[in-house]
């Protein structure tokens, strides 16, 4: 693990303690899994703190694990332009989660896409509506129970 990331991990553990469920390292990438109640605060900290300095939200997406109770994993990729390190932060939710728009405006369309394709509702999002699918589409295509060939209307 890069030294700068070791500092980040250390600070996260000091500040959030038990709310950090897991810190994994695979192929030089660090993934932090947090509990949902601290989701917004963790990411605010990662943006504000000068040793973390994650000013660029690279990507926000989701993955569907339908057999779990909290079926969606929300996954955020962060990058610091000055310190040049990256981090991945994950949490899980069954339906709703606070928006990251107040921290990074990038989250606007990225969260709209997650809502459109998975059906996760982002609380506090300024403009949560479908973005890729048609406005009157029913269903959430990237869920595992949505067939890849679609339903027979289309």
């Amino acid at each position: 693990m890069k030294e700068s990331l070791q500092t980040v991990v250390q600070k996260l553990q000091e500040k959030f303690g038990d709310n950090i469920l897991n810190i994994a390292e695979f192929r030089d990438e660090v993934t932090v899994r947090v509990k949902k109640p601290v989701w917004f605060d963790t990411l605010q900290f990662l943006n504000d703190d000068p040793d973390c300095n994650f000013k660029l939200l690279v990507d926000e997406t989701a993955a569907d694990y339908p057999l779990r109770e909290d079926r969606f994993d929300i996954i955020v990729h962060l990058m610091s332009i000055e310190i040049k390190h990256r981090l991945r932060v994950k949490t899980s939710t069954s339906e709703r989660i606070p928006t990251l728009y107040p921290i990074w405006k990038t989250a606007n369309w990225l969260e709209r896409e997650v809502y459109d394709l998975f059906g996760v509702i982002f609380e506090g999002h300024p403009d949560l509506r479908r973005i890729l699918m048609a406005d009157d589409w029913e269903g959430f295509p990237l869920r595992k129970d949505y067939p890849v060939e679609g339903y027979d209307d289309f």
């Binding site: 695979f26 192929r27 990438e29 993934t31 000013k55 660029l56 939200l57 690279v58 990507d59 997406t61 993955a63 569907d64 996954i75 990729h77 332009i81 040049k84 990256r86 991945r88 990074w104 405006k105 990038t106 606007n108 369309w109 990225l110 896409e113 394709l117 403009d127 509506r129 479908r130 973005i131 890729l132 699918m133 048609a134 406005d135 009157d136 029913e138 295509p141 990237l142 949505y146 890849v148 209307d153």
Partner: protein
Amino acid sequence: MQDVKDYTIPGGDNFAQGEKRMRLNMGPQHPSTHGVLQVIVDLEGELVVRCDPVPGYLHRGTEKLAENKYYTQIIPLTDRLDYLSPFNNNLAYVMAVEKLLGLEVPPRAQWLRLILSELQRIASHLIWYGTHVMDIGGITPFLYALRDRETILDIFEMCCGARLTVSYCRIGGLMADVPAGFVEKVDDFVKLFQKSIKDYHKLVTKNPIFVGRTVGVGVIAPDDAVSLGLTGPSLRGSGVNLDLRKAEPYLYYDQLDFEVPLGTKGDSYDRYLVRMEEMAQSTRLIEQALAKLPEKGPVKADDPKVMLPPKELAMSRAEEMQRHFYQVIHGFPTPVGEAYASIEGSKGELGFYIISDGSSRPYRMKIRAPSFVNLQALPMMTEGRMLADVITCIGTIDIVLGEVDR
């Protein structure tokens, strides 16, 4: 048959009679939107009060399709994302899979990937140059740009047979080695192109109409650019120095000497200059890479579980033939885990995020498309400006709908 529901257009749709405000639909079919992009613009006279881009007309469900295909079968899907630089999409995808597998690619393949990636960057920027200037009104540069791009497409065609849907990368290397004559052809192109860039500058850079339509148009401050998640020339035009080839070197960029052009004001003219200089820097990179290219060597990794056996062996020995059949029919297993790999594509950071559950198909593949994230900047660039600036701003962000919509 489902009923068509009444849905509210955000911002309201009740423009009273005689009110100055008008809602204009730049429909998905429009010569200046660079593809099927719909932009809903609220106007008061010529002034844009609200600008709402509506993507999604080219959404083909690439990420969903990828969950049902073997890793090698996904490569042709990636061609069709940013269809103006297909090799770069292939490259970013196979790099993500190679990272997941921990696979090492032989040097000759990496050098060839670098040369082709830079050629692809030039080709993509040439289309941007031709179409952007054409939208603003200058029709001639488009023909010059396409003429030079023809040579690049010829080079790709001699390598893999296709001009657009190249699918030239494979997980672990390239589809096949480049044919004889490749180095000479690329070298000739680079020498020709270094002269052509001067023509492009002569046609456009000091033209008063072009300058008048781009200076001060679509200004994005550096902090806003980072907050909006811009990457690539759109970010560097605002003066933020982030180029993944320097910041997180992949392939052999750390062994080569090149500069990253930066803008100062963050307007369309600065982004134009940044991209023009990037094309020149790409030629420098290609020259250096051609000199360092190893003369001989394998272009596929040496891992029997992942790579198909060489054709001569597969056609003559039973063991290799069995392995070939098995790997094509069943794919190859991957470790459980996730990987994200990104490259500095021509539009910005192009990344692939793959979650693997151990099987031979990805559990989830997310494409971090730079055009999708960059397009978010359009409302900030255009609100408060004239309608004609919307066209300039769409061109200066340089979007490709295949990537926006996936």
